[in-house]
Amino acid sequence: MKLYEYEGRELFRRYGIPVADSVVVESVDEARRAAESLPGKVVVKAQVLVAGRGRAGGVKVAETAVQAAELAGRMLGSEIKGEKVEKVLFTAYTEIVKELYLGIIVDRFKKAPQVIASAEGGVEIEELARTSPEHVLKVEVNPLLGLTDYQVRRVVRFMGLDGGLADQAGRILRNLYRLFVEVDCELAEINPLAITPDNKLVAVDSKVIVDENALFRHREFVRPSEGTGLEEEARKLGFTAVELDGDVGIIGNGAGLTMATMDMVKLKGGRPANFLDVGGGAAEDVVEKASRLLLTHPRVKVLFVNILGGITRCDEVARGVVSAYKAVGAGKKIVVRMMGTNEEEGKRILRENGILPYDSMEEAAETAAKLVR
């Protein structure tokens, strides 16, 4: 789960990583009061999770409090790359002598945390790693030992720091690692880490991704499910869904199979409307809820249900689909492919209710794609 910049900054502060003074505002009134509390130039930053905020006009420098409030007023409620701006962050403007990069990620191949550092900050690190790998240092941390002092020294040296800056960077890295572990992060990144004219290091931006599987240890970050989009509705019902721009609604069981189902629809010339995984062992009511959700979606013209029964029973699935289709399926088409546990019973139920079941995923996908043409 991506944290907003202001949440990441708050974590930085808590873990002793220096950040510029800042205030979060949610309204124009608040913005006016807040702007006056920060002396000097102010950076006004839209709090959105999409990447590329800066180029999309989400980061501006204000010379005066009045200007800052004005900029915030314009940002609040606007959309940046499709994401609505609910909060704006004011931070004291930091003079920057040089920008560095410091981050820690979970490395899937090493199966370990990896510190990533560069003497070049403010850039996209993956891009830099591709174009100038010699400018990027990666240090694998043993998850049982944690970050060692010799590794800290290596990183700091690579960043070209010595003296007081080296000490500051060492402390920042140790604290960032502590944050990374204690807050169960997938990513904790300071980009840029700025050197100021008075030789201080300051974290100018924060990017923190918390492992959703570990939220039970970090209740503070659990966000109330709000909004009305398909993804939010699905989440409320306990499913993982991803919305796409097509018109073939997809329900599968298992993430891999559901993805494969989307891919197949596309391959057959259709356009998937979504990804929705009902998971293993879904009972009638679960399938019904998922089916209703998609059948009532304005963009969905055909619903394609693809179930491979293992723990999941095909008869339960059939009942759920039929029930939803009867209730809210008017004007929509439905294609079901099922195989596995209680397959015969499931197919019988479908046929009895006028739905022709498919044996082959490929044929079913082809039909689904054709039905919307």
Binding site: A51, A129, P143, L144, V181, V242, T258, A260, G309
Partner: protein
């Protein structure tokens, strides 16, 4: 011969008294797996389908020293402790079915397993099956048939889909390993490919990947650099997935400049691996190689 599990596999089920634990214990026994004991703290003394339940792995192993494999089905917050308990009891293979295990927990117990000379499969995986010999997992056993195709996959039901297609075509599987859909998993493609390489029974390998991370690219590099001696057929799920969206599996996300399907398909192709566009095409390619 097969890999990882076979007739000599003696299984302990951790979390055996849970709903899922009971269901799959029964299913494994029915399949022929030798489930020797179960563990649920505080439930020692009970029986699940005739399988004795103990309070701790140490007790179970003391009473049944033949146990060599554990299957973990405890809830995510307790999974790491369950894995450590089995590793400390000296078990050499721990199959972690549990979904939603925190990635930091996984990094720790996976590193620890390497120090204990043990293997972890998973977390968030369907398990391992050597058809007609032993099933340590939650897959429907009847769709598998013993044969010469090794399958290694990040997915569950998609693997069943492909395994079934292989079975239907008249071929069979040596062993199917679901390595798990999480970002960090124990055995990965390379390690399982290496096992299949040494396994006389395995003649061809199916590698089922998906978007997210670079394990497929790493596997392709391994296949290319080692001149992998057995034909490999690939399949990559999620070609229509948008970036920065988690597609069900915690690991299935195109993010931080890695994980897009084209890069995977390209890397596999460059390593001489044919990549199928549909599950059925996997069978066609298998027959062709």
């Amino acid at each position: 011969m097969a890999i990882l599990v076979d007739e000599k596999t003696k299984v302990l089920v951790q979390g055996v008294t849970g709903r899922q634990g009971m269901f799959h214990t029964r299913s494994m026994i029915k399949y022929g797996t030798q489930v020797v004991a179960g563990v649920t703290p505080g439930k020692g003394g009970q029986r699940v389908d005739g399988v004795p339940v103990y309070d701790s792995v140490a007790e179970a192993v003391e009473k049944h020293p033949e146990i060599n494999t554990s299957m973990v089905m405890v809830p995510a917050p307790y999974a790491a402790d369950a894995v450590l308990e089995s590793l400390d009891a000296g078990l050499r293979l721990v199959v972690v079915i549990t979904e939603h295990v925190p990635v930091h927990d996984a990094m720790k117990f996976i590193r620890y397993s390497s120090y204990r000379n043990a293997h972890i499969v998973g977390p968030n995986c369907p398990g391992v099956i050597t058809p007609e010999a032993s099933k340590v997992g939650i897959m429907p056993g009847h769709i598998f048939k013993r044969g010469s195709v090794g399958i290694v996959s990040r997915s569950g039901t998609l693997t069943y889909e492909i395994a079934y297609a292989i079975t239907s075509s008249g071929m069979g599987q040596s062993t199917c390993v679901g390595i798990g859909g999480d970002p960090v998993v124990g055995l990965d493609f390379i390690e399982v490919l290496e096992m299949f390489r040494r396994d006389a029974e395995t003649e061809k390998v199916v590698l089922i990947g998906e978007i997210g991370g670079d394990l497929e690219e790493r596997a392709a590099e391994y296949i290319r650099k080692t001149g992998y001696p057995k034909p490999v057929v690939g399949y990559i799920a999620g070609r229509t997935a948008p970036p920065e969206k988690r597609m069900g599996h915690a690991g299935a996300i195109i993010s931080l400049g890695a994980g897009d399907p084209d890069s995977k398909v390209r890397a596999l192709n460059e390593a001489g691996v044919s990549v199928a566009s549909t599950p059925n095409e996997v069978v066609k390619l298998l027959k062709a190689v």
